[in-house]
Symmetry: C2
């Protein structure tokens, strides 16, 4: 029983990993369950056993990212002071983006993925809380523009050109540049 | 003769304006020549007289932006010193983006428009020269990441949320935040 459950979770994850790689190469709309089956080397009905549609697979791909985003927003909101909240939000979102490097271009650029994200109301709500935490450093329109610029900039800084960089190096550059954009000093001990 | 030429140029521009508005609402792939004819209030054959395909219309929409980008890159390359070059490139690209506010989301987010831009070799070449001018402030990987972040950030800072802002206010915010990201001081007299 235990072994069967582990195997089921294991093949479920293999389909998710194959989907991430195929969505990145062929877009969500350009990827079929058959292609995912071929990539893993199983029949389409083996995929069907776990995911009936590619939408279900996309949701399974996105789920851990949304969970991570929710946790990062909540951790930031729990800080005292708007600078501490913005700093925690920034590092949280960069950590999450770097941990999901392969997914970021899809989440911000694939029309199918964007449509799916827009259809989930919690995504808009989380994005608002995130933006508010970053924008609060400079109340008013300037803060909102900088928050938008930082969020777009983090995704843009993870382009093909940086794909060979270590996670840690990329993370450090993204955080440093975003702090400057927002006008956030590095926390004590990290300057 | 002169009147006829003016009228032809005039209706050509009306089709281009209608295309910009429809591409923004329905995407390039979701806009037909018939929709453009309907928007202007003419027959499809009247559109056909100027543009045989929507690809031709998209090229006509993009052409002045590419011309402006080329001029901005050349003006920046003509400056002395890498800070002056980066500053001129930054203000040039923000001016161009703000002047083409309605087009920017399409140029960075519409798959059909992106495909068209990618197919034109001069676009990649201009983008490289632009990025080099911005990245040169901080030679190495950090400079490239910041240049990517600034370019994505400028587009991201022109989101729906800022659509009500004056061009001048938006322009100033985008330039100030981008200068901070790049580590560029405002030129003398503007501090």
């Amino acid at each position: 029983m235990v072994v069967t459950a582990v195997r089921a979770a294991d093949s479920r994850q293999r389909f998710i990993d194959a989907a991430i790689s195929l969505f990145a190469r062929h877009s969500f709309a350009g990827t079929s369950l058959q292609m995912i089956a071929d990539e893993v080397g199983v029949t389409k009905s083996a995929v069907h056993h776990h995911f009936r549609t590619r939408e279900e697979l996309l949701n399974a791909v996105i789920e851990p990212v949304l969970g991570g985003l929710q946790a990062a927003v909540e951790a930031a909101e729990g800080q005292r002071g708007r600078r501490a909240r913005a700093e925690r939000m920034l590092t949280g979102v960069v950590d999450l983006a770097v941990r999901n490097r392969m997914l970021v271009p899809m989440l911000v650029g694939d029309p199918g993925a964007i449509e799916m994200l827009r259809s989930r109301t919690e995504v808009g709500e989380l994005a608002n809380r995130l933006n508010m935490l970053l924008a609060d450093i400079d109340p008013g329109v300037g803060g909102w523009i900088k928050a938008d610029m930082v969020m777009a900039g983090i995704a843009g800084g993870m382009s093909a050109r940086t794909s060979g960089l270590d996670d840690d190096v990329l993370r450090r550059h993204l955080i440093e540049a975003s702090r400057r954009t927002l006008g956030l000093r590095a926390p004590r001990g990290l300057r």
